[in-house]
Symmetry: C2
Subunit: 354 residues, 2 copies
Amino acid sequence: MPGEFEPQEKIYMLWPQRPDNWRNGAKPAQKAFAEVAKAIRRFEPVTVLASPEQFSNCRNTLPPEITVLEMTSNDAWVRDCGPTFLVNDKGSLRACDWKFNAWGGLTDGLYFPWDQDDLVARKICELEHADSYRTEDFVLEGGSIHVDGEGTVMTTEMCLLSAGRNPSMTKKQIGKKLKNYLNCDKVLWIPNGIDKKETNGHVDDIACFIRPGEAACIYTENKKHPFYAVSQEVYRTLSGMTDAKGRKLKVHKICCTKHPVKMKKQFCIDQVEGSKPRKKGELCIASYLNFLIVNGGVIVPQYDDENDKKALKQIQKLFPDRRAVGVHTKEIVYGGGNIHCITQQVPKVRTTAK
Amino acid sequence: MPGEFEPQEKIYMLWPQRPDNWRNGAKPAQKAFAEVAKAIRRFEPVTVLASPEQFSNCRNTLPPEITVLEMTSNDAWVRDCGPTFLVNDKGSLRACDWKFNAWGGLTDGLYFPWDQDDLVARKICELEHADSYRTEDFVLEGGSIHVDGEGTVMTTEMCLLSAGRNPSMTKKQIGKKLKNYLNCDKVLWIPNGIDKKETNGHVDDIACFIRPGEAACIYTENKKHPFYAVSQEVYRTLSGMTDAKGRKLKVHKICCTKHPVKMKKQFCIDQVEGSKPRKKGELCIASYLNFLIVNGGVIVPQYDDENDKKALKQIQKLFPDRRAVGVHTKEIVYGGGNIHCITQQVPKVRTTAK
């Protein structure tokens, strides 16, 4: 699996729709998704996948240089239900089609059913003419892992050892699966994430590789900040780790929002049994770390917070050869994720099958 | 618009599903569609488009070398609701996205609604990254025209002058539309087709170009054959015509089935208001002429009729550089069309946009 910072072919996104997760019939979220898509399109091709009911609206909302295709899904998190693309020794595109169960299945998952989400990876592989490995015996979401492209994968124990995913497997067995499927030699285990109740602590909200040998993570010294404990832990953990090549990791700090982002008073979300309700005053997982690296750019969440500019500057400094572009994504965070969660990169390859 | 006999990139098909048109839940038809797809795949790439509900079944039914993508439609006639591909002077792919109204709209169309069919052309153009011309003021189906790629288009008056399509336009105005959109100089008007009640006489059941200057048409001398009158008329009409280049057309005869194909006793089709019923003993439009030309091959309908081999031989003789392959398609004809109706070719182009 190539690192996200390696050359990419295009970005896939799903189009948000379900009114039991996105307020006001997903209209504000659709606007934010469109802004993310347009920001990415400045750097590389984007394909947005919309349901049959939303196809026309999505096509008419987005500019013509963004491709819109039909694809049914249960929600809009292509990072998690989409394929994880790999490149084999011959330079051909391959993919892991992870078994998906909506972040914990019937144990602590976020909705039921998830059958259409679980077909998204296969359908994207068909679009890319990429052969895929289906992991019928192993549940994983793309947002729970990051790789450096040189043999190291980072993840969290909170997520991968959760009761709703692969409860019959030991930590060692799970690590082995990761190494086998991603062709990695070493797993960096971070204890906790910041959204235990949603994704069970996906790593892509708290840390990532910015290049081989270097990582970034969320960091705050404000003891009252809800992410304080985890941010201290992840910084300390990663700083003490070496990667698969034996390099001691250089870890960069990315600030948190000054004020925690919370659910607003009026939410107008459908009340549906089996779907996670969104309550007034609930903490949102507003992390600047959930950015997306693209060819020549980094797309960074902004929240109308005092630290928006600081975060953008910090991230810009980490990527001297890319342009950091901020997009207001509060409406996406209200739905439970952010820019990295709603995107999936296809790496550039030397050869493609027809 | 290139002739069908010019080099192709791939073939699109839709996957049959609706139980009010296809007997036994479309299972026999799906088998026949799969055989057609596999026959084409011997010569060039095939993409089959299936609804969200049928995606997994379609994917699992077809071999991996056939691409399966999600696409919603109202039925499975991509020749008629799909795009008509063009190549512009720069060698780029373009398409006509004809307004579609299910072969006659509320006047004498075959089902309601047809909104998803009418989006198929646009969606295929997105897949092909092809710009399209939407004809909001002009209703047409791809099966009602054939071109020679050198300025001539053939069609039928029965269809194009029908009351359900463009009743406010004169024959001259309709001819002008065809010439403009297809970049043709001459329209060859054939009076009648053989399925007045279904497509109002699509030309692709009775005649086609096999190369510039040469056409083929159905022909029988058996006065009792239901296609006798039309077959005589189309042969006579075409034989007296010259094409856009001033060449007198050379017209080849293709036999009809020895025995008319009729609906069987047991049909098990859902009874749905607004959809055309299929009655016991009803005549099927079983024409050998509804074949598809592909790179190096011709895919020819077969009906378990005494004349199957004769038709295949006649068609093989017309295409000395291609291999004529017969596929049993009675189950497709029960649904109202045949191989040409369920396929749409993408011509080879020099350049493609990303």
